[in-house]
């Protein structure tokens, strides 16, 4: 891998991380609008929203640092997490190759969200933070099982290596399903968007954020979703071409397929979102726990070598 390739891909990656998520959101909004038979916002609308928020002075309901710094931390964590994913065959900043580190760094977005939410005297933000935590709690075992199955199969936990090493057995296919499910839940898409439910709890923690703090926070959340989906899309797209992709061109091919899969994922998510109502938190917990119990079988399958 040449230095130029590295630099070029890293540059593309940073651009994607920072500027693609609002576009994806815009696309999803457009698709949802189309399903609802309306024209919908322009595809670039999320950029407009973001820019207006970023240009506004915030108001501070508290002086607490936890509240004030949370957006920055969330943003930094989301971007950092996204930076360790493969773009083509390049990982822009590889402070880790490990999927757990990736998940934990990504989880810092949620932690920032929760700490900020709980650091206020406001039952809305509290409830939002509370729900975020519960969702994380309920989905973590499923995610763990998916990773465990992949690790059993591929004998590695390195994000960049799993898709190259994995052999497609029944258990791995099921693990992909679990991973997709976990990503969907972690991403907070309807019916799992209870932590930021607008009608129920006024977007949870965001109900106290304003101006550029809100802008940064929302941006961070979009990047988080992007990172999660990029992980999934990498896992899906790299095995498709791993035998033919080599060199810079191969990297470009992978990147293109990654992007295509990403858009495909986002599209299907938008469709699922618009066809569902938001669940209650206890329903989500019940459902995730059910998924977890069922998916223990996947691990057993993997242990048996299937």
């Amino acid at each position: 891998m040449s230095g130029y390739e590295r630099i070029a891909f890293s540059f593309i990656a940073v651009c994607l991380i920072l500027f693609l998520p609002p576009l994806l959101d815009g696309v999803a909004r457009k698709i949802k609008a189309k399903i609802q038979l309306r024209q919908g916002a322009p595809i670039l609308q999320t950029y407009y929203d973001l820019v207006t928020f970023l240009s506004m002075e915030p108001v501070y309901p508290t002086e607490r640092l936890a509240f004030r710094l949370a957006p920055y931390i969330a943003f930094a964590s989301a971007v950092s997490a996204a930076l360790v994913l493969p773009y083509g065959r390049v990982i822009p900043v590889s402070f880790t190759g490990d999927i757990f580190v990736f998940l934990y760094v990504l989880a810092m977005v949620s932690i920032a969200y929760m700490i900020a939410g709980f650091s206020l005297n406001n039952t809305y933000t509290n409830t939002g933070a509370n729900r975020e935590m519960m969702i994380m709690l309920s989905i973590e075992p499923v995610l763990g099982l998916a990773i465990g199955t992949l690790a059993l199969n591929a004998h590695t936990l390195r994000i960049g290596a799993i898709p190259f090493a994995v052999t497609f057995t029944l258990s791995v296919l099921l693990a992909y399903g679990l991973l997709a499910y976990s990503v969907y839940v972690e991403g907070g898409f309807i019916p799992f968007d209870v932590a930021e439910a607008e009608q129920e709890i006024l977007e949870g923690v965001f109900s106290e954020y304003s101006g550029y703090l809100l802008g940064i926070f929302k941006w961070a959340l979009m990047i988080k979703r992007f990172a999660l989906l990029w992980l999934l899309s990498s896992f899906i797209s790299i095995p498709l071409v791993r035998n033919i992709a080599s060199g810079a061109l191969g990297g470009a091919l992978i990147l293109v397929i990654q992007l295509m899969v990403l858009f495909l994922l986002y599209t299907s998510i938008a469709v699922i979102e618009s066809m569902n109502a938001r669940l209650r938190i206890e329903q989500i917990i019940r459902q995730n726990a059910g998924v977890f119990v069922c998916s223990i079988a996947v691990l057993v399958l993997a242990a048996l070598g299937w």
């Binding site: 609008a33 189309k34 038979l37 309306r38 024209q39 919908g40």
Partner: protein
Amino acid sequence: MAVTLKYPFVKIEAPPEYRGVPHINPRLCIGCGACVNACPADALLRIDDYEKGTRKIVLDVGRCIRCARCDEACPTGAIRMTRNFEVATLDRKDHVEVVELRLHRCPNCGSYTDYTERALEKALQILPEGLFDGDEIRKRAILCRNCRRKLTVDDAVEASREVVE
């Protein structure tokens, strides 16, 4: 497929039955105040100035509830509901329509009466010709109340005004 209308980028016509904002046609208004009495929201005001001899009929679209009672009551069709609805503005003054009319001045005593010159003309138009002696009633009608009473005739204008209202 998307059913969204293109408004406001493409103009849209309100249906013919629509009760839009009312508008006073100042060329038809006789300043009788029937609309003012009919208006439940007090969007219409009648402001008389007996010093200057003017009557203002003030329509504030920003207070209007668009019930069309004024339209129903106006004897000359001066105030009509239009089909216009694009009346948003940043300045409330844009919502106000004022028609300032001259009050009739009694040729006898020189004081202003509580009806406008136009109302008088309208009243005369309505007055059934031939029911009374035409010229006679016209003479009396133009006088102010006190002067008219002096002439012991005051029912003609009153009657016609009743019809108007």
